[in-house]
């Protein structure tokens, strides 16, 4: 059924349809309407779940970790400093191989305080091991949340679904809300392999030695590095599993087919702009203008950022003359994180495209189509002249 709602409500609706069982969240702008909606769903009886109004984000993830270890489907949501406050817990959840799903309404990080959109919060978590999916519009938000629960429980790795704070979280758009029965068929009940059970006691995630060690039955059990190696192998394998899940979703709901990258006018493009989130859709307007001027440019939105779909990206950008990566995040002291990852994915190609990096929109600085047009035109006109160092769009430096 088609409804018109905000991105936060799209996310909350996805959580409801996926039948999350334990929800714990702490309010933080711009996530708050999501958690408010969920408490409304629970209190009204529309969602049969335990809703815990915790006293901090660290505790929100603690509740999810414990509830998931105890065998229930757990969910939380946050932004920016809240995500960072639970950073220790993110590492815990992934090392414990718990299929928790979390929404992140992307927001810049203090200091200084900002409540507006950029991607630094989730980008700063890229090394943790959580799967990261970025939604470009409201339909993708609700669809990704539903897919996330199935993916997390298939691969036993937590998934964060990220979407732009304010730009997506607070704006209203029409989208299709799937039927509960269809979602039930797509996301079956949670069947954990290992869970807290007085009938089958186990001690989870205690001190694990550097070396392998025999268990109570004499069998050699892994050390910390083997367990982490298994996580990494599973993360890489999750790429293929997610392709399958996305394919199933398309069969069931008629949408999807772009699990890793979403391309617009890239087939015959010489130049490709790359971005994450709603920016990749704003860039489509710029692409259309430049195409009218005869510049063969396309735009690619990265949908799955971790595990990094390096093969898919290398394939999509192979043979292009110039790749322009525009991002709302920075690995301070170096380059944009997406830029670095794409560069390393392209390294394997015989014929490597020239690649440029633009930093923009930090702390919610408005991104004007004119500015994008100017920057992209410069990049496409003299690709070799742009140095391998981030350029900035939208700075208002007072001379």
């Amino acid at each position: 059924m088609h409804i018109i709602e905000s991105g936060n409500v799209a996310a909350a609706t996805g959580v409801k349809l996926a039948r999350a069982q334990v929800i714990a969240a702490y309010p933080i702008t711009p996530q708050t309407p999501l958690t408010e909606k969920l408490s409304e769903f629970v209190e009204s009886g529309q969602l049969d779940a335990q809703y815990i109004p915790v006293e901090s984000e660290h505790s929100a993830m603690a509740v999810c970790i414990a509830a998931s270890t105890a065998g229930t489907r757990a969910f939380t949501a946050t932004s920016a400093n809240g995500l960072l406050y639970m950073n220790e817990q993110l590492h815990w959840a992934v090392g414990a191989r718990l299929p928790i799903v979390m929404c992140v309404a992307n927001r810049g990080i203090g200091a200084p305080w900002t409540v507006w959109n950029d991607h630094q919060d989730s980008m700063a978590q890229r090394d943790v091991g959580w799967i990261q999916i970025y939604a470009n519009d409201h339909q993708q938000i609700i669809d990704s949340v539903i897919k996330a629960f199935r993916l997390a429980e298939t691969v036993s790795i937590p998934v964060m679904v990220c979407y732009d704070g304010y730009l997506l979280s607070h704006t209203y758009m029409p989208f299709d809300r799937p039927e509960q029965s269809d979602v039930d068929a797509f996301v079956p009940a949670f069947m954990p392999k290992n869970f807290l059970d007085p009938e089958n006691p186990g001690n989870f995630n205690t001190v694990t030695l550097p070396d392998i060690r025999p268990g109570v039955d004499g069998v050699m059990e892994p050390g910390y590095i083997e367990i982490r190696h298994n996580l990494h192998q599973d993360l890489r394998a999750a790429l293929e599993s997610y392709e399958d899940i996305d394919r199933d979703f398309k069969k069931a709901f008629g949408r999807g087919g772009t699990p890793f990258v979403e391309e617009y006018r890239c087939d015959d493009a010489r130049f490709v702009a790359v971005a994450i989130g709603s920016l990749s859709y704003q860039l489509r307007d710029v692409v259309d203008i430049m195409r009218e001027d005869g510049i063969a440019i396309g735009v690619m939105g990265v949908q799955m950022y971790r595990p990094f779909p390096d093969e898919a990206i290398a394939q999509a950008l192979s043979g292009k003359e110039c790749v322009i990566v525009l991002e709302k995040a920075l690995s301070y002291g170096n380059q944009g994180p997406l830029y670095g990852d794409i560069k390393s994915a392209l390294y394997r190609l015989e014929d490597r495209p020239v690649i440029h990096n633009y930093i923009l929109g930090l702390g919610g600085r408005e991104i004007k189509t004119q500015q994008l047009l100017y920057a992209l035109t410069e990049s496409c006109t003299k690709p070799q002249a742009i140095e391998d160092t981030p350029r900035w769009i939208g700075l208002k430096l007072q001379e």
Binding site: S56, A62, V63, A66, A67, T72, P198, G202, N203
Partner: protein, 299 residues
């Protein structure tokens, strides 16, 4: 009124395996052993970093026979909340959800999550074993380290500040059951843990836990040292049930008996070495004043 447990009627079933890594003479070993007897098999444990983490065993061997989730240091109260939420979802209402944390994981780094759980009225039992320092990391001072005590981070002057009264902080949340207990009185501890399994809402038990290496006494004196803390009136055994305070057992009997001087307790442990006579006098005065107040309240 439940029958008092005696050595003879106390269950022989053990829920801890021997040969674990707890120190020789560890007070926590006694507390944990008794507590699990009272809780029984239908229990899920939540444990943050602490001596208990080590006692319960390193992967892949568990010396605990009960299911347990190890959690990050600050999150015990919240994790216990999460386990209970899952039990409600799964319809397993009878399972005891029990957090076991040290004084640091309870009253310092863990206090926020515990406060939240108490305020929300979570259906959990929270047992704090108070060995009065961060023992697992090597005897650094904590909020519950008593005044004047030598630790590795108060190595010369001893702790300047007073012992944080964590049970009082928790009692201020208005939860239905707050109790103090001691490793030296294991049957009293057993009865209090058992009682807490019959009460609805958050239950908090603060257990004084002597530590031979951390406090500086020979391992054979764990019980003796613990008893002296109570007999000198320094650590009091009490219950606060629905807001009503009541001294229990040996502490209640102290209302009528003479207390031993605090110097008797200090003499048994190396950690009190730097207490001067002025400090000791002040502490004796504080203890005397506290007991004068107990006595006038009891009238």
């Amino acid at each position: 009124m439940a029958e008092k447990t005696t050595t003879l009627n106390l269950t022989e079933e053990e829920f801890v395996h021997p040969g674990n890594r707890a120190c020789s003479g560890c007070g926590l070993s006694i507390v944990y052993r008794m507590g699990l007897k009272a809780l029984g098999k239908n229990t899920i444990l939540v444990v943050p970093p602490s001596c208990l983490t080590v006692l319960q065993g390193l992967y892949p061997v568990a010396s605990t026979k009960l299911p347990c989730v190890n959690v990050t240091f600050a999150s015990t109260g919240a994790a216990a909340t999460g386990v209970r939420a899952a039990m409600k979802v799964l319809g397993k209402e009878n399972v005891n959800v029990v957090a076991w944390a040290g004084d640091g994981g309870t009253g310092d780094i863990g206090i926020q999550a515990l406060s939240g759980a108490c305020e929300r009225g979570e259906e959990i039992i929270y047992i704090c074993y108070d060995n009065e320092a961060y023992m697992n990391t090597g005897v650094q001072r904590s909020g519950t380290t008593p005044q004047g005590v030598l630790t590795t981070t108060t190595p010369i002057k001893g702790k300047l500040q007073m012992k944080k009264d964590v049970p009082a902080i928790i009692a201020a949340h208005g939860i239905p059951y707050v109790a103090t207990a001691s490793a030296a009185f294991p049957l009293d501890l057993y009865d209090k843990v058992k009682k807490s399994t019959t009460i609805s809402g958050p239950k908090y038990i603060h257990v004084h836990t002597p530590c031979p290496p951390g406090w500086g006494f020979e391992s054979r004196f764990t019980i003796k040292v613990g008893k002296l803390a109570v007999e000198t009136g320094l650590f009091d055994l009490y219950e606060i049930e629905n807001g009503t305070f009541r001294l229990t057992g040996p502490s209640q009997r102290l209302l009528e008996k003479e207390r031993r001087p605090v110097t008797d307790y200090f003499a048994t442990q190396g950690r009190f070495k730097s207490l001067d006579s002025e400090m000791v006098r002040k502490i004796q005065q504080q203890v005397d004043a506290k007991w004068a107040a107990y006595k006038s309240a009891a009238v």
